[in-house]
Subunit: 395 residues, 2 copies
């Protein structure tokens, strides 16, 4: 039997483009993980989630263990909309879909919007997992550079106008992470936010706003694109992975009801009654304002430690953006970061090579992403020391 | 802004075929639910799942709340393979994918196998949700009748041979629920099982075996197709929804590693560390053999109660198959069951009209599905009395 012969064209194509399992090398035991975009272990609310699960099951018995039945599932929709309202995003129940994290939301949006001839606009660099997802649906992309003020909307405008003049297709949507971008850590200015929304109207495209890090600002809060969107063009994707716990797999999309309805149609994992109800029970008994203050202070301190260590231990030629929130710092070094990774792992420190974040991988050769979220402060310093040794060797 | 204009062709087509939310009418509060394929509330192991969640979080702390890290996730793969081995299915770690219930597994299989020109073979009747899923990918189907001995493989053979002679396309796969089928409750005989596997080789198609009910036999155990499959043609889908709790969303596919790898590639909900680790902790401390004995005895008793009530309260013209396991009884009545549903709901009893289970809905007009799993014995009897009143009115 020839297994390959049974695969759909679509599936053959996707598997050829980017074979699964050939992404990052395995990180050896004991290696300092500056690659991992995980929350700090001590900030994961283990006791509180345990209490939530216990009281949920004591109160509702078998209800959250059936397909339907727990009133807490509906409650979660409500609680997340309350959280969105605090950020200026007003949506009704029919404008919100709970998903298994942001990734499932991005996949469902891709599924309802992308044909194999659809053009998609992405940032350069951008979240690698989103790129992978879009590549499962189309091979047509444009990418627009990000600088320290986020997406360069003037370059986007030039590109769109040029394509329009030439009679080329325009993107169906732009995928952007406007706030504390993954991987650059940079944030789109308010001016550029207004500009990109104007462009969406002018050139008739949608915006997929990935806001996984928006609540983790150090000082100033940026307004989500969705809160500035008067035309229903923004599909806003968020998640509790970075502010509560990724293992609970709770994300969402806030968008026009037609989009939500279509996404729900294709979401064949049904809902996750136990996980969703447990999260609702957790949120009901948590002062998220207080929690977010702790998270912000902790991650800001960890970020400072990382930045100081970079100053102290890295060669002077290395350049980075100073983030104002989120999980990441983006570095440019004078070396091929993919090639260097083996040495770094041997030295006992991991990072993510820049090339994975670019549509055109060559553009990312000299970049790398560090995360200050997961490792503790001492470990971060030791990690940077090790990275410094590796980088000095190739200088 | 014209929302519709942004939808992918595929998505427009799917939404047109079968608009979401227009399936069953809402079942009124207080109505006896003989429609619901849910486990009996008192058989859902609430206390045990609570204990499992507590001990998991006490033992592993934050690990099951991150993306990765809990050893219990790998353990779940192992425990499910042990359970499959008891049923004659021997697979390695790479031949098993944990999914969010059987539905996600079916969707992922559809995704890797179906192009828009792909022919899919289904049973008539069959599980409505699977039909819906396949329709999201293709419009090309053949359906083969089921009788009291399961899929009529001789009719399948005739159809395949006829298509072959005519130079028509052959199916890429057959979707079958060989054991305690949903909705008919019938089971494919061993002879037919052998026959369908031979046909798969002869006409070069795969078999998607949905085995959600296989462990819930009353007396005799049927061998899964996967256990008889020497050629790697069977993709076996299972679930803990019917034997533990659907709200945990734990299902799987056991298949050749190439299929598993491709499915994993498209599964963008990542894994569900908390749910999967909690389930592993539950299984580790549960004697499933003992539990299954209780389930079998209980459902058999509930089924007997339903069957006796049918004898007693339904018009003599009504016909049904006597199931040997599972959750369902399939009835043929002398009326349009879709039209009758409003009256039944008014009378205070729900069922699922037969038409939803057929590719060609007209074939199902006079059928309906009852479930004995959810309601308790007294309620089942009262439900059948009410159904009897409705049916007698139209005789």
């Amino acid at each position: 039997m020839n297994v390959e012969s049974f695969f759909s064209k679509h599936s053959k194509e996707a598997l050829k483009n980017d074979p699964p399992g050939e992404w990052m090398p395995t990180i050896p035991e004991g290696c300092i993980r500056l690659s991992s975009g995980y929350p700090a272990p001590h900030l994961v609310p283990v006791e509180e989630i345990k209490t939530a699960a216990i009281s949920l099951l004591e109160e509702e018995k078998d209800l959250p263990l059936h397909y339907l039945g727990s009133p807490k599932k509906k409650k979660l929709n409500e609680l997340i909309r309350e959280r969105l309202a605090l950020r200026g995003i007003q949506v009704s129940e029919k404008e919100l879909l709970i998903t298994s994290g942001a990734c499932q939301a991005i996949d469902l949006i891709a599924r309802i919007l992308i044909d194999d001839q659809t053009l998609v606009a992405v940032e350069a660099p951008t979240y690698m997992e989103a790129l992978e997802i879009f590549r499962n649906y189309t091979t047509h992309f444009i990418s627009i550079p990000v600088d320290e003020h986020g997406l360069q909307t003037d370059l986007l405008e030039n590109l769109l106008e040029e394509r329009k003049q030439k009679g080329l297709s325009l993107p169906r949507f732009l995928y952007t992470i406007p706030t504390f971008q993954n991987p650059t850590g940079t944030t789109m200015t308010e001016e550029r936010r207004k500009h990109v929304l104007e462009l969406a109207v002018k050139y008739n495209f949608l915006i997929l706003e990935d806001d996984a890090y928006g609540e983790l600002y150090f000082k100033t809060h940026a307004t989500p694109l969705k809160a500035m969107d008067s035309d229903g063009r923004v599909l806003h994707v968020g998640s509790l992975s970075k502010v509560v716990a990724p293992g609970m797999r709770i994300g969402w999309t806030a968008a026009a009801p037609e989009f939500i309805k279509a996404m729900a149609w294709f979401k064949k994992d049904l809902d996750h009654p136990f996980a969703q109800a447990t999260m609702a029970a957790y949120l009901e008994r948590t002062d998220m304002r207080e929690r977010l203050e702790t998270l912000r202070a902790t991650y800001q301190a960890k970020c400072s430690v990382l930045l100081s260590a970079l100053e102290e231990y890295l060669p002077k030629s290395v350049f980075w953006y100073v983030p104002e929130g989120g999980y990441f710092v983006w570095l440019r070094v004078a070396a091929d970061t993919s090639e260097l990774l083996a040495q770094a792992l041997e030295e006992g420190v991991s990072y993510v090579p820049g090339k994975y974040f670019f549509l055109i991988q060559e553009e990312g050769v000299e970049y790398l992403r560090l995360s200050f979220s997961y490792a503790d402060e001492k470990t971060i310093i030791e990690g940077v020391k090790r990275l410094g040794r590796v980088l000095r060797e190739v200088e």
